[in-house]
C-alpha cells in the first residue's frame, strides 16, 4: 500500500506541467484519484466537508443497477434455454448470460471512457465520473444480440454528440445513454425492433423450438396482438426484453437504494409513475381498442417504463433541476411514454422517446419555476414599498 503511494508520488512530477508526460495529466489524475482520495485540504469557507463526492455518488448508482444487471444476465441465459427447448440450471443460465453481457459492458466502457479521457485532456480538466453510470446503462438498455461494433459506434456517438458538444458532463441536454439507444434505433432499425432480437441467438435461428416467437409483451401489443403474459412473469422479469429492463422487482430494489441514499430523485420517479397511471386510466375510460383497455399496473410492468422512470428520467443533469419542476417533468413524461406506446405502433417503446422529448423541455419547465420565485420576490418588494 505504502509502496504504491510512494511510487505514485515519485512519478507524479512527470505528469505535471512541464513534465515528460504532460499530455497524460488527466489520465494520471483519474487513476491517482481512483486509487486515493486526494489530500487537498480546505483553506477558507467551510473547513470541513461532507465525505460524499462524485465517485461515491456514481458508485451508489452502480450498486443500485446491480440487481437489474445480475438478473438480466440470468434472464439472457434463461430465455436462450427456453428458445432452444432446454432446461438449464440457474448457474448455467447465469454463466451463459454473463458471457454474452460482459463484452457489451466492456465495449461501452472502453469506447466511452476513451473518448472522455481524450476530451478531458484536450480541455485540460479532470475526467468526470458521469460516464461510469452512462457506460453501464448503455448495455442494459440494449437487446442482447446487438453487434459489438454497433454498440461501439452508438457509444461514441452518444458521448461526442450527446455530451461533449455541449461542453461535457453537467452541460448535456439529453441523457447520453438514451442517445446511444436512439441512435441504434434510428440508424439500424433492424437491430433494435422486431421479435427476434431480444433473445440471444434467435436471429440466427439455430436449433430454435418450432413455434417459439420471442416477441415481448410490449412488441405484441404494439402490433395490436393481445398479449397474455401473466402479471407475475412481467413483474419478476421472466420475459424477453432489453438486458436490464425485464425484472421490475430488481428495478424497484434499485429504486429503493437510490431513494434511501438520497441520490435518485423520488419526486421524478413518483410523478412519472403517476403520469403513466393517469394516462392509462384515461385510455381505459375510452377503451377504443384492446391496447387501450390494458390496466395501469400491467402498463407499468411492460417494457422499459419502470427502468426509464427509475434510472434514466432521474439523470440530474438532463432532468428538470428544480424540485417543483421535477414533479411536472415526471408527470408529463409518464403521460407521453404511455401515449406514444399506445398510439404509435412504430415506436412500441415510448419511454425512450418520452424521456428524450422531456429532456428538451426540462429547461423550459425550470425557467417557469424560477420565474415564479422571482415574481414572488418582486411582489413582496412592491408590497413593502406601498
Amino acid at each position: 500500500m505504502k509502496a504504491l503511494r510512494n511510487y505514485l508520488d515519485k512519478i507524479k512530477p512527470n505528469f505535471e506541467k512541464g513534465g515528460k508526460y504532460e499530455k497524460l495529466q488527466s489520465t494520471f489524475d483519474a487513476i491517482e484519484t481512483f486509487l486515493y482520495v486526494p489530500k487537498k485540504v480546505t483553506f477558507k469557507g467551510s473547513h470541513i466537508r461532507d465525505s460524499i463526492d462524485m465517485k461515491r455518488t456514481m458508485s451508489v448508482v452502480l450498486i443500485a443497477l446491480m440487481p437489474a444487471l445480475l438478473f438480466g444476465m440470468w434472464n439472457v441465459g434463461y430465455q436462450h434455454s427456453l428458445s432452444i427447448g432446454e432446461t438449464n440450471g440457474i448457474f448455467d443460465n447465469f454463466l451463459f448470460g454473463a458471457i454474452k453481457v460482459i463484452p457489451l459492458i466492456a465495449v461501452s466502457y472502453i469506447v466511452g471512457l476513451g473518448i472522455e479521457f481524450i476530451f478531458a485532456q484536450y480541455r485540460g480538466h479532470e475526467v468526470n465520473e458521469g460516464f461510469l453510470v452512462s457506460g453501464m446503462l448503455i448495455p442494459m438498455i440494449m437487446p442482447i444480440d446487438v453487434p459489438l461494433w454497433m454498440l461501439a459506434v452508438a457509444t461514441a456517438f452518444a458521448v461526442i454528440f450527446g455530451k461533449e458538444v455541449f461542453g461535457g458532463t453537467g452541460m448535456n441536454v439529453f441523457n447520453p445513454a438514451l442517445i446511444a439507444r436512439a441512435f441504434i434505433f434510428f440508424a439500424y432499425p433492424a437491430q433494435m425492433s422486431g421479435d427476434k432480437i431480444w433473445i440471444a441467438g434467435l436471429t440466427e435461428g439455430k436449433g430454435v423450438v418450432d413455434g417459439f416467437s420471442g416477441a415481448t409483451p410490449l412488441g405484441n401489443w404494439g402490433q395490436n396482438i393481445a398479449d397474455h403474459t401473466s402479471f407475475m412473469d412481467m413483474f419478476l422479469g421472466f420475459i424477453p426484453g432489453s438486458i436490464g429492463e425485464t425484472s421490475k422487482l430488481a428495478i424497484l430494489i434499485g429504486a429503493g437504494i437510490l431513494i434511501f441514499t438520497g441520490i435518485g430523485s423520488w419526486r421524478i420517479m413518483l410523478s412519472t409513475i403517476l403520469g403513466g397511471v393517469f394516462m392509462t386510466l384515461i385510455f381505459n375510460m375510452f377503451a377504443a381498442n384492446e391496447y387501450m383497455k390494458v390496466d395501469p399496473l400491467t402498463q407499468l410492468v411492460m417494457g422499459g417504463f419502470l427502468f426509464g422512470a427509475v434510472f434514466m428520467a432521474t439523470d440530474p443533469v438532463s432532468a428538470s433541476q428544480t424540485n417543483k419542476g421535477k414533479y411536472i417533468y415526471g408527470f408529463i413524461l409518464g403521460i407521453f411514454a404511455i401515449m406514444i406506446r399506445v398510439f404509435n405502433p412504430a415506436y412500441p417503446e415510448g419511454m425512450m422517446l418520452a424521456i428524450l422529448l422531456m429532456n428538451t423541455f426540462a429547461p423550459l419547465i425550470d425557467y417557469y419555476i424560477v420565474e415564479a420565485n422571482i415574481n414572488r420576490r418582486l411582489k413582496r418588494a412592491k408590497k413593502a414599498v406601498n
Binding site: 453487434p147 461494433w149 454497433m150 459506434v153 454528440f161 458538444v165 441512435f183 434510428f186 440508424a187 439500424y188 432499425p189 433492424a190 437491430q191
Partner: protein
C-alpha cells in the same frame, strides 16, 4: 461585409487580392459554416453525391452570373427597387439552369425537384449581391460569385460524401463498401439518410473548423 475593396489602380486579373475573393469562401468566410447561409438546401440535397454536385454547380453558376450582371448594372439601379431587380436577375438565371438540367440530366433534376427553383430564395445569393456586387467591379464580383459558389459546393460535397458512404455504402452511386463487410455483419447507417444527420454533419464541420481557427468563435 468588410471585404468591399475599392480598387483604384489597375491590377492584374488574378492578383493576390482577387484570388482572396476566390479562396476566402473555402475557409474563413465559408457561406455555410461561417456565414451560416443556405443551410436548408444543404440539408435537403446531400443524401447522395451526384445531386449534391449538380446542385453545387447550379448555385455556383447562378451566383457568379448574377453577381456579374448586377455588378455591371450597379450604377444604374435605383436603390429603392434594387431588391426587385436582383430577384429578377436571379430568377431568370435559375429558370435557365433549371431548364438546362431538365434537358440534359433529367433524373438528377427529378431528385433535386423543387430545390433548384428554391435557389432563388437561397440566402447566399441575396447576401453576395447586397454585400458585394452592389459595390464592386464586375470582374471582382464574378470571382466572388465563383468563390462563394465553390465554398457552398465544397460543404455540400463533403456532407454528401459522408452521408452516401455511411448511409448507402456508395460513392457517386458506386458500391464502395465490399460485400464481405456486409457478410461480416456491417449494416448501413439508416440515420445518415435522415435530415438530422445532415445537420449534425454540418455541425461537426463547423465544430472542427472553429476549434482550428478560434477567431471564428462568436462571443
Amino acid at each position: 461585409m468588410s471585404d468591399n475593396i475599392s480598387v483604384k489602380k489597375r491590377e492584374s486579373l488574378f492578383s493576390a487580392q482577387n484570388l482572396k475573393l476566390l479562396k476566402g469562401p473555402f475557409n474563413d468566410n465559408n457561406p455555410i459554416t461561417v456565414q451560416v447561409l443556405g443551410i436548408c438546401s444543404a440539408l435537403a440535397v446531400t443524401v447522395q453525391m451526384k445531386p449534391a454536385i449538380v446542385m453545387a454547380l447550379s448555385v455556383m453558376i447562378v451566383t457568379a452570373f448574377s453577381n456579374l450582371i448586377i455588378s455591371i448594372m450597379r450604377n444604374g439601379i435605383p436603390p429603392s427597387i434594387r431588391i426587385i431587380v436582383q430577384l429578377v436577375v436571379i430568377a431568370a438565371l435559375v429558370i435557365i439552369v433549371d431548364q438546362l438540367l431538365k434537358a440534359f440530366v433529367y433524373d438528377v433534376s427529378k431528385k433535386l425537384s423543387v430545390f433548384v427553383g428554391l435557389i432563388i430564395t437561397n440566402c447566399i445569393l441575396m447576401g453576395r449581391l447586397e454585400a458585394f456586387a452592389m459595390a464592386n467591379k464586375p470582374w471582382q464580383s464574378f470571382l466572388d460569385g465563383i468563390g462563394n459558389g465553390l465554398g457552398y459546393g465544397l460543404i455540400l460535397v463533403v456532407v454528401s460524401f459522408f452521408r452516401e458512404l455511411l448511409g448507402y455504402g456508395k460513392i457517386l452511386g458506386m458500391q464502395v463498401i465490399p460485400d464481405s463487410f456486409y457478410q461480416a455483419g456491417y449494416v448501413n447507417n439508416g440515420m445518415m439518410i435522415l435530415p438530422p444527420m445532415a445537420l449534425i454533419t454540418v455541425g461537426t464541420i463547423i465544430w472542427i473548423q472553429r476549434s482550428k481557427n478560434r477567431d471564428l468563435i462568436e462571443k
